[in-house]
Subunit: 144 residues, 2 copies
């Protein structure tokens, strides 16, 4: 469904959110450890997210990554996915036709409509804060 990069990106952002909510900044190493991802590759993904202003990166000693607490509620899963994988997952044609729409549909267009729309809805409404809260409270997990 998502690329590996996107999976790491989502997990990393959630972990940064968890710690930011506790007013802590986290290092690349800390992130990679907590989400069980390859460090150097994760660094690339965090760079992308920082360039898209989804997370804030701070260089130097005691540096790391953080997210402004007040923004946690307003950052949606869709923002992360779009920054890394683009929006083809929930906007593109299920069979890869370049011109697929209600008037010129691929064979699975209408069947997929509901799934695609639900996925879009989900990504566009699920916010970082609630995802982070579930992890903090032990309701959900970022690894294994």
């Amino acid at each position: 469904m998502f690329s590996k990069a996107c999976e790491y990106g989502i997990k990393a952002t959630i972990y940064i959110a968890v710690r930011s909510n506790e007013d802590k900044r986290v290092s690349l190493k800390g992130i990679a450890n907590h989400i069980d991802s390859p460090e150097a590759f994760t660094a690339k993904i965090l760079q992308m997210l920082a360039r898209e202003n989804i997370i804030l990166s701070v260089r130097g000693i005691n540096g790391g990554f953080e997210i402004e607490k007040s923004r946690l509620e307003h950052i949606k899963l869709a923002d992360i996915v779009k920054a890394i994988d683009g929006d083809n997952i929930y906007k593109g044609c299920g069979l890869g036709l370049s011109e697929c729409n209600e008037l010129h549909p691929c064979p699975v267009h209408f069947e997929f409509k509901k799934v695609r729309d639900d996925l879009r809805e989900l990504l566009e409404t699920t916010n970082l804060k609630s995802l982070a809260m579930d992890v903090s409270s032990g309701v959900s997990f970022l690894r294994i």
Copy 2:
């Protein structure tokens, strides 16, 4: 969502179904032309589908691919997807956790449940015959 191979596989199978329903056998070349796919690559995918007994391949002059008419209704999208991409799309964890379930969920597990289940339902119930009929009647399209 699906790999390129799977997209080609689905389109190819639908096209074979369309022609089988008219009691015609189709050649690789005919398939690749109609679904706008790379011929040699499509050949590999058709081999996979034939090995999985989803389609029947016939060698030699006047050879090609076909599907027993009576089976069209019973072959589901899920059969094709499973043969090519496996069932990770609708069975695996959205964030790639190896052990993600109701008791040890990833942060998006419950949010994704509906989408995943709907996708599975869709793939497991949509049959080749109805997809082929829509193409035959000009309701849906296999290319552009």
